[in-house]
Assembly symmetry: none
Homo-oligomer: 188 residues x 2
């Protein structure tokens, strides 16, 4: 139980852990607050794409001030956001070229295709227990309780380590200007 990493749980299983504390806290997936999304988006806009473990750690810690969050959420957020930005961009180019070959799956979902799927959540009978492993070692997270924002480190120390590591964006650009980072981002 002492692992600070995260384990990935079975897909079809809704593990409501309301058996104990009765806090009423839904145990479902992470639901980011607007502040959290704002900060993540800022980081993304600033050019961050694949944060390192340390960065994830720090980001997570920072965001935890605004609400419940885990490192894996940060990791997944960047994975997804990156992929979907890329995908969006690709979709645009596809439309522009109009090969007319992609009749099916690249629709922008705008059309009202009623997908005649079975109404009930015919839940997967196969409970795949799939715990993959722990991706990130969250070592000594000592919960800096509050007053995170007030810290005011004004040094932009290492904020660009990732920039050198990942510059291979290419061709999907559309927004790669590295705007000056917001001061709140200085914790990286």
């Amino acid at each position: 139980m002492s692992s600070r990493g995260f384990n990935i749980k079975a897909r079809g299983l809704c593990n409501n852990n309301n058996g104990g504390g009765g806090t009423g806290a839904k145990c479902g997936r992470w639901n980011p607050t607007v502040e959290q999304v704002k900060l993540l988006t800022d980081l993304f806009k600033a050019g961050l794409r694949t944060p390192s473990t340390d960065q994830i750690q720090k980001i997570s810690m920072e965001l935890s001030f605004y609400g419940k969050i885990e490192s894996k959420n940060v990791f997944y957020w960047f994975q997804n956001h990156k992929a979907r930005e890329r995908q969006k961009c690709r979709k645009i180019s596809t439309v522009k070229f109009d090969h007319r070959q992609d009749t099916d799956l690249s629709k922008p979902r705008r059309d009202n295709v009623r997908r005649h799927q079975l109404p009930a959540k015919v839940c997967k009978v196969e409970e795949k227990m799939i715990e993959t492993l722990q991706l990130f070692p969250l070592s000594k997270v000592e919960r800096v309780r509050a007053n995170v924002t007030a810290a005011s480190h004004n040094e932009y120390t290492r904020e660009q380590a990732y920039t050198t590591a990942f510059s291979t964006f290419s061709t999907c650009g559309a927004e790669m200007e590295h705007s000056p980072l917001d001061l709140r981002l200085s914790f990286l």
Copy 2:
């Protein structure tokens, strides 16, 4: 540093951690011993595909007896082995296809890669399969250090739970005879 998880690092970065101890240990990638490979292969043949965190942990611990190893090595080994078995099988069934629809913009990078065969969905049969997972008996084995092999439990007790659950191996099989597990596997 006590984290049992592992972090995934940047690709091109060779992090030589020889800065400290001076052990002379090459920090390159994991080089499994034959015993290690044997054991992993046995587990795979027995049906294990996506081990859980605990299982990875245990396997890693066990294999560490034969040589240096980390949890992530076990994880990756299963990932790769699974994928490449599938791929091998696919290669057999779909020899030539050559759609060569290379106009897509999904790969802006190096093109000296020999494109693998494309129809990814060919072998997509009931791959709901596997997920042996919790089917593998995870006893609370606490570190039977050595003399694991000598243990001689002659009861094949629960080692076949998965067999009944998954007989849907189907089509990608090619080597799915469930040979009686080697006794060394009893730590799972």
